[in-house]
Amino acid sequence: MTTPCLTIKNMTMAYGDFIIQHDLDFTINRGDIFIIMGGSGCGKSTLLMHLIGLQRPAKGDVFYGEESLWQAEHQTRQRILQRTGVLFQTGALLSSMTLAENVALPISEHTRLDSLRISEIVSYKLALVGLAGFEDYYPSEISGGMQKRAGLARAMALDPEILFVDEPSAGLDPVSAKLLDDLICSLRDNLRATIVMVTHELASIFAIGTNSVFLDPETKTMIATGSPKQLLAKSRDPKVIRFLTRGETEIHDETKT
């Protein structure tokens, strides 16, 4: 039962003339926990910007189901994107609002709930990410890792179908990182959401990733795609193996046929 949820077709991303990645072609299926991986600065966050409608591709397109994101009118694009939630690499909480107001923002925008119900939902979402009791704190008053988690709470506020997260566990201690992985897994299971995640954490990659794409900064394109475990077992590309083993193992020759 693999229905494509997000299809990236022949996409090139660039800042002006400076090409970041070219010829990206892959599919994210419904229910996947899809990992975008690659070395620092290879364009993972940039790829995310293209998927969530913030940056127009230099070439190619992104399809949500059958619908093209970048051919569409502004209104249609807004409607498509309403089904998504995004956690930015920096958290991107609105610094002039408390955590509760931040999480409540998308809820009050897109639903007609009364304020009591909204504040209940907000407390529930904050509790999910381990921030119960921090409703009235401002983003500047909590740590970087906590801002990350609050950002996640805001991204999940509307129970999105597709959740994009940029390095959720960077800046978290190992236990919280594990909890966050579990949370993301259970989100997928309970809400039948699709997760698109940028991460460097090998533990998370192998623990929860069901599919992935590997971006290479030198050739500026994707050099592998597939489930991370399979990639580790089957891939013959030294760069992929080096990444997935933290450079500790050399390429195993027995996989060569």
């Binding site: 090409i19 309403q82 998504t84 610094s95 897109h110």
Partner: protein, 378 residues
């Protein structure tokens, strides 16, 4: 600490091998021997195939030695010479292998190019054109969100509107009081010196009243607010840009133009006329202070004279001007903020250019409106 031993590099060659003996303390602050002599020996026309090092007498070392070594190794590699680093101390070898572990990204390093003056002028011209285009687009977008507001469709938090009104209204009163009082005083003094020659001190009231209501009140309030609020708007929006907060708003389905820009513009449109009125009154008070205490005119006389000279229309002109200035200040502040780049210095630049743009707009608009009033005879 012992005195440092001067650093030196001595080369000796044996057949096709050049041996570089590195000695002394290579620490930052020391004067390194020029490397050019060594490089020249490796350069074109030499038959050296291999470069080895010896470091028996090397003392302390830090980044100084590393940078010089990297230069040597890079140069050697370019000339096709085999550089043997295995005789270097382990620490240096480790650092060198780190340096060369990640190959330099092709295209990532920015090239510096000398630009001919014609190109500089051309680029400057293009930048101005782009700036004007951006301004037009921004005005268009603002107008669109204004229409959305009128149809009751614009979405922003009313809290934000009230906060902005609080920020640019009551909080600005002290500085507006100070400046407009001073301007009133100055107008009165300057005028009085001339008018006293004819014994016409009473006309100071006309001068101050008309000057403040028609021109100076609005202008002073506008210039204060452009430094105070226009810059603040640019800095706030710029910082939000840096923190990806504006991106986050977009992904949540908000229009930043409605959510962020509209409440700011509305706040200034609402507040500026009131501030103008307040500045006018303060100026008149300032004028009264001077006239009553130095020029032998009673307060009642002064106020009577003012009431005769200044009509409602004069106040009205000032207030209209204030509203226009409010729009201009908010526009330039918000525009520079939304255009802000993604670094701390970009936020500073945005605030600076918001003030500059704002004041330029204000001056242009003021001249136009004054000429218009003059022609229309109001």
């Amino acid at each position: 600490m012992t005195d440092s031993v001067p650093c030196e590099i001595n080369v000796s060659r044996k057949e096709h091998t050049l041996k570089a003996a590195i000695a002394g303390d290579w620490v930052l602050g020391a004067e390194p021997p020029p490397l050019e002599a060594v490089l020249a020996k490796l350069g074109d026309g030499s038959d050296i195939k291999r470069l080895v090092f010896s470091t028996e007498t090397l003392g302390r070392w830090d980044s100084l030695l590393m940078t010089e070594l990297i230069r040597l190794v890079d140069y050697g590699a370019k000339q096709g010479i085999q550089v043997d680093t295995t005789t270097l101390p382990e620490g240096i070898q480790g650092l060198l292998s780190l340096v060369y572990a990640v190959p330099e990204r092709a295209g990532a390093r920015r090239q510096e190019m000398r630009t001919p003056w014609l190109e500089i002028i051309g680029k400057g011209g293009l930048r101005i054109v782009k700036d004007i285009q951006a301004l037009m687009v921004f005005i268009g977008e603002t107008a669109l969100s204004g229409f959305a507001l009128m149809r009751g469709k614009a979405r922003f938090r009313s809290v934000d509107l009230w906060m902005n009104i609080q920020d640019c209204g009551p909080s600005a009163l002290p500085i507006v009081t100070l400046i407009s009082l001073l301007v009133g005083l100055i107008l009165a003094f300057v005028g009085a010196v001339q008018l006293a020659l004819f014994g016409a001190q009473i006309y100071i009231a006309d001068l101050v009243g008309l000057g403040m209501t028609r021109e100076m009140g609005g202008l002073m309030a506008a210039i204060i607010m452009s430094g105070r609020t226009g810059a603040a708007y640019a800095a706030q929006l710029g910082t939000m840009q840096v923190n990806s907060e504006i991106d986050a708003l977009k992904t949540m389905g908000f229009e930043p133009m409605e959510f962020l820009v509209l409440p700011r513009i509305l706040a200034l449109i609402f507040i500026m006329p009131l501030l103008c009125l307040y500045a006018d009154l303060m100026g008149i008070v300032g004028g009264a202070l001077v006239t009553v205490s130095f020029f032998d005119v009673s307060l009642v006389e002064y106020l009577n004279r003012t009431a005769n000279a200044v009509h409602i229309a004069d106040f009205f002109i000032g207030i209209v001007k204030g509203g226009v200035f409010g729009v201009l200040i908010a526009l330039s502040g918000c525009m520079r903020g939304m255009q802000c780049g993604r670094s701390a210095s970009a936020v500073g630049d945005a605030a600076t250019s918001a003030v500059v743009t704002g004041i330029v707009f204000i001056v242009i608009a003021d001249s136009l409106m004054t000429v218009m009033c003059n022609r229309l005879g109001i």
